[in-house]
Assembly symmetry: C2
Homo-oligomer: 255 residues x 2
């Protein structure tokens, strides 16, 4: 285990994520926290996991920013997910031995791991934890479906707006964004690879959003001036981020 790390500030986003998992007891939470081992920090552009790698355990992002991606033989790249602190790298390790896609750090990224055996024994002895882990894969799936809708149906300005709304809410949920401000340690080229748009067009689209007074950017700092309006432009509804929660649960009325 990581010793002091479990009580350390660095695990805060992961803690917040665990708290959000339905029905997880304090006992479950400390069981999984205590199983974290082997913390390491990857530099930007470093692969955390390569396609066809044999997976030997479950990794959790504690700090930083990463992505899943697939490459075509000619070099085109599609980013299929962004991983923010608190996200799991490869939950499918429970069933599958090899990855079908790669995971790369986009910013300096700290991860910690749980060995496969430890994880299997956790889910076997703690049904609620097992359920919670499955639940978080379902949220991931829901995000993936929404990304397909985004890339398949929305125009460029809608895609960018939608992604910004999603990332703002996800980062806010783990305490890494507030008051419309968020840090996105990704290049415009990476945004393009996630949204199926060219770098040049990402740049022009961001300029358009700034021109409409919806957004301010300064390097990798983003400031959403009007979340409700940005959500309208992006035809964004946050429901998919809360799969399985009671749909009638009161929600902030910002969209």
């Amino acid at each position: 285990m990581l010793g002091d790390l479990t009580s350390d500030f660095i695990a805060a986003p992961f803690m917040r994520r665990l708290n959000a998992l339905v029905g997880l007891s304090d006992d479950d939470k400390s069981a999984i926290l205590d199983s974290l081992t082997d913390a390491r920090t990857a530099r930007p552009r470093a692969d955390l996991l390569r396609a066809d790698d044999v997976i030997d355990g479950l990794s959790v992002v504690l700090e930083g920013f990463a992505c899943r991606y697939k490459l075509l033989p000619d070099g085109r790249r599609q980013i299929v997910a962004f991983l923010v602190p608190g996200d799991f790298c490869d939950l499918r390790v429970l069933v599958v031995e090899r990855a079908d896609h790669a995971v790369a750090a986009l910013a300096p990224t700290t991860t910690a791991s749980i060995t496969r055996d430890r994880l299997l024994s956790l889910v076997n002895t703690r049904p609620r934890l097992s359920r919670a882990l499955w639940w978080s894969t379902l949220v991931e799936d829901a995000i993936l479906r929404e990304w397909l809708v985004n890339v398949g149906q929305r125009a460029a300005i809608e895609r960018v707006s939608h992604l910004l709304c999603e990332l703002y809410l996800r980062l806010e949920a783990v305490g890494l964004a507030a008051d419309g401000r968020l840090e996105l340690p990704v290049t415009q080229s990476e945004l393009g690879d996630a949204l199926g748009l060219s770098t040049v067009h990402i740049n022009r689209t961001l300029r358009e959003l700034r021109g409409q007074g919806l957004l301010e950017t300064n390097g990798k700092s983003y400031f959403i001036r009007d979340l409700a309006r940005l959500a309208r432009v992006g035809i964004f509804s946050p429901d998919y981020l809360r799969v399985g929660r009671d749909l009638l649960e009161p929600r902030p009325d910002r969209y």
Copy 2:
């Protein structure tokens, strides 16, 4: 249970799918087959499951063709998956109570169900079955990621070719396609909604593929004249359809 249905020809694709699931015993197979109940046939365009529906059990497609889809408020539709015989409608029922997307029949489609309680007791008493079900959700995820790559990175002719290769292999795997021939009971408009292309452009792309001698179409019958070449055009590699199988397993050399 469905009585005669379990031994009936109609369950053949589902049987073939079960046989393909890793490590499933005959006992497991008959347990799940015997749990099938409440067979019903939906007409084309009928919803099998609506967004926000409370899910009361697991449905299996026995015959026909269906899709998962999400709608935007203005009517745009993205099809996020095709369901062929042997596919499950809503495996997430195990964890989540409500659907975040809809499922619709595209052809006359027969489904059978397993009640939630029965399913839960099956997975609790049969670890291999539980593992096999999770495995099939992972294959679904892999297909979803590949669709995102398809829509995000590939040009129209590549997208159509890729989808045709995928559907041919999936249908062949359950005995519904052979010798390059397959039936796709979908309209060109539905292909467009799956690939993020307009109906008109689907039509032109199919014409182009016919012109290149790669494909023949006759209504909803498709004949792939040269699978290897179509796969090359679509930059198609079948790996993602076999997530978790040994990557060294010998494969037909058709791509």
